[in-house]
Amino acid sequence: MSDQNDPMAEIRASFFIECEELMEALQDGLQELEDGSEDPETINVVFRAVHSIKGGAGAFGLEALVRFAHRYETVLDEVRNGSLHPDSDAMKLFFLAADHLSDLIRGCRDESEIDEATSDELLTRLDALLGEDSVSEEVEPETFEVQGVSLDLDLDLGEEPDDSATVYTVRFKPEQDLFATGNEPSMLLRNLCDLGEATVRCNFADLPSLQDLAPETPYVEWIVELKTEAAEPEIRDIFEFVDGLCELEIIGGAAPATLDTSGPAEAPSAEEALPPPATGTADLISDDAAPAESTSAKVVPMGAKPAPPEASKDGEGERKANTTAAKSVVRVDLERIERLVNLVGELVINQAMLSQSLDEAGLSPHSDAMNGLEEFQRLTRDIQDSVMMIRAQPVKSLFQRMSRIVRESSAAVEKEVRLVTIGEATEVDKTVIERLADPLTHMIRNAVDHGLEATEKRQELGKPRAGTVTLTAAHRSGRVIIEVADDGGGINRKRVHEIAVTKGLVPAEAQLSDGEIDNLLFLPGFSTAKQVSNLSGRGVGMDVVKTSIQSLGGRITINSEPGKGTTFSISLPLTLAVLDGMVVNVANETLVLPLNVVVETLSLGKDDVQMLRPGHYVVRWRGGFVPLYDLGVMLGYRHHRQTDPGSIVLLIVLEDGSRAALVIDGIQDQRQVVIKGLDDSFYRAPGIAAATILGDGQIALILDPADVISGMGHIRGTDLMLSERKIANE
């Protein structure tokens, strides 16, 4: 049976998708804890994420995952119940464990080799937390648990009729496989007790003598009388992951008064339906503080808050949970979305064709057909925007991956590094997010390895011990800007220059500005690392990053300040599917330029163009000069520059703020074009980003103007700046 038709394979696949979401929640929760969140819901979220992963993994027999998650969860449970107060080392360990959990999930999903050694190492460290905790507990009786629960309970029972509470009788009998999958009845019972007030009874009538007992076989069952405001599904949820691994009966609906009296008057059905725990039952209250003495009392169980606090639980944390829950989500196969995107692309092309046909038919702009077309265009654009929104995802998942990179790379080079993320909710096309992971990873590693000074040096400089890497995402002018900033020493430009000269990348006599030197980092084979570290220094670096970003239609720039740090900015298109473009003619070719780079169009006047030096021209613009390039010459369509008066010039602004003027022959239109990626079989031509199909069915190349200008020579990017500076000097 193929995977496609195998329902188990589908469920399994869906489990791994859920794991991704759970891991995201786990990372979020850990981050909140590290940031000092005192909201009890935070640790609950963290715990539940690991617990759910464990439960699902158990159902699929993923033992390595279950084993790790189980012990990780045990430690988190200690945090949850207030027995363990994690310090910064413990938090680091929790993050490492989360990272490893993520690896285990991936390993299980891909059926690749599981790193048991790391599991063992981390589990030993996690267990050590438990050990220390148990010692400290002896000294510090758990204030959290004592919290006067019995007092509160008396008040609650006395003062509140608690109309919404219902009494359920839950019978739970674990089977042997429940233990084998890493589950533990005490944990389930505890979670059950958390829902309200519970009386737990253990029925051990079937327990054989010790001599006859098979230690790994469960013989006992529990009967819990639970007074709670929770609905039955919520109770069942607790047992979700042991479904099929236990006997479970829930009988509910009795009035709350049942628990106040010892008589079963108002819950006869429950009592009748369940086997009486006549012989050998322990009937105890799950009280945290005084179990021995409380045999005859009804006490609020651990974790269960009395009514007023319960109400306050509906505060921030609960609201947060509700907000998440309220978002209803449909999972759709990405292929289906791709198909929809492609169809919408075709729709845009067809609309352009129709528009052109109507134009050529010479219809009046006020005719019904033209008005209808206008409406059609508007709808097409709305549909396109909406479809693009489907593919848009917050960059959060990407940023979370980066926080792991920071942890690992800082550990590798023994630096203390703090990652600050800003704008996690910024949405970017899913395809862009996926393809950003590698370049960002490299940039983060670079920032940690090269950008930040060693801890000792930072202290000498009076900087905070821990370096900060800031990852920012934002929408700006229809593009996505992602920045990686460090608060390190900035680029050592003298050294960069020396290396570039040594490697023959720039002539020794070249006088370069700071910006030009910074851009040398993007040259192939450039590396300033004196030694090859675990992370970087192999000379494969920022040039690869730059190429990756460019292949996404993006641009990367550097801004560095000595002693204060370096910021790498990536500017990306919001989507890789459509583009607002300016359709132009150059040497009888139709080309498309991204509209957002064009700031102005000019018509050349008689004295506007001046020669800077042979082959280098500038154009006068608003009292200054801007380097002038003939697009036809640059793309090899013609040999002679067109700088006659009346020629059309597009003034463009590049990401680094520099300007350039491009000579073209004419402007056809401004319109939205569908980006069609060029197949790998086409060699990458500098300056050509992609192609599109125009309304008349003609294929037009989409240009990347900055690449046209900077990609002509190996440091043409700096060339442009050089020209601008010379112009400024003149």
Binding site: N81, D127, L210, L213, P215, E216, A282, L284, P291, A292
Partner: protein, 91 residues
């Protein structure tokens, strides 16, 4: 007085069989079970302790549980026992 039986820190599934073996060897007299190191008490080990308590009781001996931390006492309570009731194997 016989030496107390000192329990392992983690009384989970893998610990159940060794615990049962250790207890089986100590059914011939009163038994003190020392829980000072215990951090986690699972249902299977609780069941083993309960069976041992009942077996001891039927032979006229008694079991005493000592030095369990509050945390473990709480875990017992979640499963419906206190150290006293567990030691007495009583309902």
């Amino acid at each position: 007085m016989t030496e107390p039986l000192v329990l392992q820190p983690k009384l989970d599934l893998p610990a159940a069989a060794p615990l049962a073996d250790a207890l089986k060897a100590r059914l011939d007299g009163d038994l003190t079970v020392d829980g000072k190191d215990v951090t986690q008490l699972g249902a299977l080990c609780l069941q083993v302790l309960l069976a041992a308590a009942i077996s001891l009781k039927s032979r006229g001996h008694r079991m005493t549980l000592t030095h369990f931390s509050d945390k473990v006492v709480k875990q017992m309570a979640q499963m419906g026992f206190s150290p006293e009731t567990l030691a007495e194997g009583r309902s």
